[in-house]
């Protein structure tokens, strides 16, 4: 479970910017949460603080009752590697590595044996529907495929929370459907906790809950009805030519 208490972030400068003004919420294990709001509302800032990519000005981030917001720099990298997964807006993969190498990189950093990380990453690549693309270079993959490699990489270390920062922003409709459905399935079938920042209202329907931000504060915390989610999934299937199955 992740618990956020009175989280604040101020960017110091000539004119200080109060990006988060005291945000508090809880996310139980296995929930798929979307964070929405207009530009400048603080949604990306919130994600960066939760994913330990940045340090909050004050407040607490408790993961399983441990305050991770105060971790020193050298422990943060280690914590991100062991417990967090991150999917970026753009296809943030390493161009010199092929698809499977990008996927197993976190496991290699964790010191997992070669045989084991090859097995785990291949398994995940199969799950995200890229079993035929294991040894393709990044430049040989479509945007949707690259994003699925990024999802596989974010999950390979069995992360407690998967953070996704507008993961469909650069994808066409078909690939958006593939990625969102994949995230939904991860949540439903593997119990993966997911926090996704999005600005596209229709994407919230794939999630369990929406946290609406405005001017650095929570404006609304809304649960999505199950039938709404089913409709969204059903609609996405219709647009797909092929879709991976977990």
């Amino acid at each position: 479970m992740i618990k956020v208490e009175n989280l604040k972030k101020t960017y110091e400068g000539h004119v200080p910017v109060h990006a988060l003004k005291g945000v508090s919420f809880e996310i139980p294990q296995g929930q798929f949460v979307s964070i929405m709001g207009p530009s400048g509302s603080g949604k990306s800032t919130l994600l960066h603080q939760l994913a330990l990519l940045d340090t909050p000005s004050s407040g607490q981030i408790l993961l399983d009752n441990i305050d991770i917001s105060k971790l020193p720099d050298n422990k943060r990298a280690d914590f991100r590697l062991k417990y967090l997964g991150y999917v970026f807006q753009e296809y943030a993969l390493i161009s010199e590595l092929n698809a499977i190498e990008n996927t197993f990189l976190p496991l290699m950093l964790l010191g997992t044996r070669r045989k084991e990380y090859l097995r785990a990453s291949t398994e995940l690549m199969l799950k995200v529907g890229l079993g035929e693309r294991l040894h393709h270079f990044i430049s040989q993959l479509s945007g949707g495929e690259q994003q699925r490699v990024a999802i596989a990489r974010a999950l390979v270390n069995k992360s407690k929370i998967l953070f996704a920062d507008e993961p469909c922003a650069n994808l066409d409709t078909e690939n958006k459907g593939i990625v969102l459905r994949l995230l939904r399935q991860l949540c439903d079938q593997l119990g993966q906790t997911i926090l996704m920042v999005t600005h596209e209202p229709e994407q919230r329907e794939f999630t369990d809950r929406v946290i609406w931000l405005r001017d650095g504060l929570i404006e609304k915390d809304e649960l999505i009805k199950e039938d709404t989610r089913d409709h969204a999934l059903h609609d996405s299937y219709r647009t797909l030519k092929s879709a991976p199955q977990l």
Binding site: F88, I94, E96, G111
Partner: protein, 412 residues
């Protein structure tokens, strides 16, 4: 730590095998050229300096020179006394290959080529005496005869001269020479003590080392007759096996009882040339410095461009949990790879192309033919320096980018 190193090696391997091949090859070429340039120029300068040392020790003053000491009133004595006893003591020291005593006295040498008195050529120079049997143990002059023969122990009316005295044979200081004296020609020597002797030129030698080629020799017996003394010497030249520095043998000489005399190493007799050698050493250091800067800056630019263009990628690597140290290590290893391959190719070029070429086509210097002489310590220094410079060139840009805030690195 082992995981970090494994990950860094993995990244480097991928950068090398899947990165831009043109950049890789160009960087290695520049590193190779810098390394080869450092060692060729250093090798040539070392070759020149080494030739001077070899010529000095083989043909000029051997390794050590014993000269007369001071008398009880502090005045420098004219000759070394009890020379035979002294030479026996010297010869008994382990590592001494031989010693030879010489007399030296000032003289005016007169040469009248057509014997008409209309074109008399004179030079004021010192004449030295040698014992030819002893001398071949400490000097190679007998191997450099360009005309006539080396002196025999019994020669009395024969004289041997270097090419800078006779002139001709490619001498470089013709202004001061006898301008073309030949073997068989007669010269008159007016010694400073008033004795005048006529000699026939028996041999002319040319070592190509001007200091060695500016000497006139008669036999020891002849000089003792001119000076009217025996069992004395102006100097004793000592050849060592060079297993130890000259200072060691000088101490051994003192211990062996050569106490009253002035003992000097060969370096003391080539002050002017030593200055050139010291200048060459400075030039070598400058060349090393410039070469290292060229290689270092090239690697720095390549790593700088690589890290700057991968700034976002490095941010992402950090975001997924890669430690800064792994990122820095990977670029340092990449720089090390450039340097190592550059050095490897450089060594191959030097050993299989440059060195054989210079052996076949040595350069002509005033002191002789100069080939490439690579000093092991300088060679190792250039390798270590290049490796250190490359590591620094890899560290600075990668450290700069790896230290950057993740958010700024990814989103600018």
């Amino acid at each position: 730590m082992l995981n970090d190193l494994q990950a860094a090696f993995f990244l480097v391997y991928k950068y090398i095998t899947r990165g831009n091949k043109g950049t890789l090859i160009l960087t290695i070429i520049v590193t190779t050229l810098a390394f080869v340039q450092i060692n060729i120029i250093s090798g040539i300068l070392s070759g020149a300096v080494n030739l001077i040392w070899v010529q000095t020790k083989s043909n000029y003053v051997a390794n050590i020179v014993v000269q007369p000491g001071k008398d009880q009133w502090g005045k420098k004595e004219e000759y070394i006394k009890q020379v035979s006893l002294l030479k026996r003591k010297i010869d008994a020291i382990p590592g001494v290959e031989g010693c030879s005593s010489r007399y030296t006295t000032g003289a005016i040498i007169e040469y009248d080529p057509d014997k008409t008195g209309r074109d008399i050529r004179t030079i004021s120079w010192s004449v030295k005496s040698i014992n030819p049997t002893e001398e071949v143990r400490i000097s190679d002059l007998h191997n450099f005869m360009v005309a006539g023969e080396y002196l025999d122990e019994s020669d009395r009316d024969q004289i041997m001269m270097g090419r800078e005295i006779t002139g001709g044979f490619g001498a470089s200081l013709e202004v001061q020479s006898l301008k073309g004296a030949k073997v068989g020609d007669e010269v008159t020597v007016f010694y400073h003590n008033g004795v005048v002797r006529k000699y026939t030129i028996k041999g002319i030698y040319a070592t190509v080392f001007p200091l060695a080629d500016m000497t006139v020799f008669v036999t020891q017996k002849e000089m003792e007759s001119v000076l009217g003394i025996r069992e004395r010497a102006s100097e004793i030249l000592i050849k060592t096996d060079e297993a130890y520095p000259e200072e060691y043998y000088i101490q051994e000489l003192r211990k062996a009882g050569v106490e009253l005399q002035d003992i000097r190493p060969w370096q003391d007799f080539i002050g002017l040339v030593l200055g050139i050698a010291q200048s060459f050493d400075i030039i070598k250091r400058i060349i090393l410095f410039i070469g290292l800067i060229v290689a270092g800056v090239t690697i720095f630019i390549v790593i700088f461009i690589a890290t700057t263009s991968r700034r976002k990628q490095i941010g992402i690597m950090k975001a997924i949990g890669m430690k800064e140290s792994i990122i820095i290590m990977s670029y340092m290893l990449l720089a090390l790879f450039y340097a190592t391959v550059g050095i490897g190719v450089g060594i191959t070029i030097i050993e299989f192309i440059v060195r054989p070429y210079f052996l076949a086509h040595p350069l002509s210097f005033p002191m002789g033919k100069v080939s490439l002489f690579i000093v092991k310590s300088e060679f190792v220094t250039s390798i270590i320096s290049l490796i250190i410079v490359s590591l620094i060139a890899g560290l600075i840009p990668s450290w700069r980018v790896a230290r950057e805030n993740i958010i700024r690195a990814i989103w600018g």
